[in-house]
């Protein structure tokens, strides 16, 4: 697996991971805008609630795929390091809450009222995971 990641990233696994995580965070900020339009908190004349919800779902699916790729890269290439405990805890919680959110969206509709809270939790955990790894790396580069 390590060799595959090395080959795919042409020897730059950290840089690729940082780029992917940063893309996920940037899209997550956009997700907040889309969902605020979806729930009618902001009503721009150029975007209705329904397409905002649909775009939010499509971008959310993309973010989930990117996060899974980053998580696989992280665990299989870098492993669990002692000095990155907060990052590991935040990332594990992020994936768990994200999985719960997808479950509520696709199957567990009765829990739909918790979606805003789950969405905000995903956003906060993603930001924390990014700051404790990619943010650190970018600050040092």
């Amino acid at each position: 697996m390590e060799e595959l990641i090395d080959t795919l990233t042409r020897g730059n696994p950290t840089e690729v991971k940082v780029v992917l995580a940063s893309v996920a965070l940037a899209l997550a900020v956009y997700q907040l805008v889309l969902i605020s339009v979806g729930y009618g908190k902001w009503r721009p004349p150029f975007l209705a609630a329904r397409p905002a919800f649909q775009a939010h779902r499509a971008v959310g699916d993309t973010i989930a795929v990117v996060l899974i790729v980053v998580a696989v890269m992280c665990v299989s290439y870098f492993g669990l390091e002692d000095d990155a405990a907060l990052h590991a805890v935040a990332a594990t919680a992020l994936l768990a809450v994200l999985a719960l959110k997808i479950l509520v969206l696709r199957r567990w509709h009765a829990m739909g009222r918790f979606l805003p809270a789950l969405g905000i939790s995903v956003w906060i955990l993603l930001a924390l995971t990014w700051f404790t790894s990619a943010g650190d790396f970018l600050a040092g580069s």
Binding site: G11, N12, V18, V19, S22, V23, A26, F46, R50
Partner: protein
Amino acid sequence: MAEQRSHTRQMIGSLLVALLIVVAAVAVVTAKFGPTSAAEQEAVEERLRLREERLEERQERREERLDQREEER
């Protein structure tokens, strides 16, 4: 029907904005890395190695020429 078409257009527009955000994020983060990426560093190291080899070759040729001159004398 017209509303449906407008919604499709809005949805495509929203996804295009997302695409622009992806491009911007990749550009900003990649620019921040600068020449610290492994590929770039390898290229720099390769250039340095070639320069050192050329210098060594030139030095050897010079020494050979000096030896030849001394032998001729």
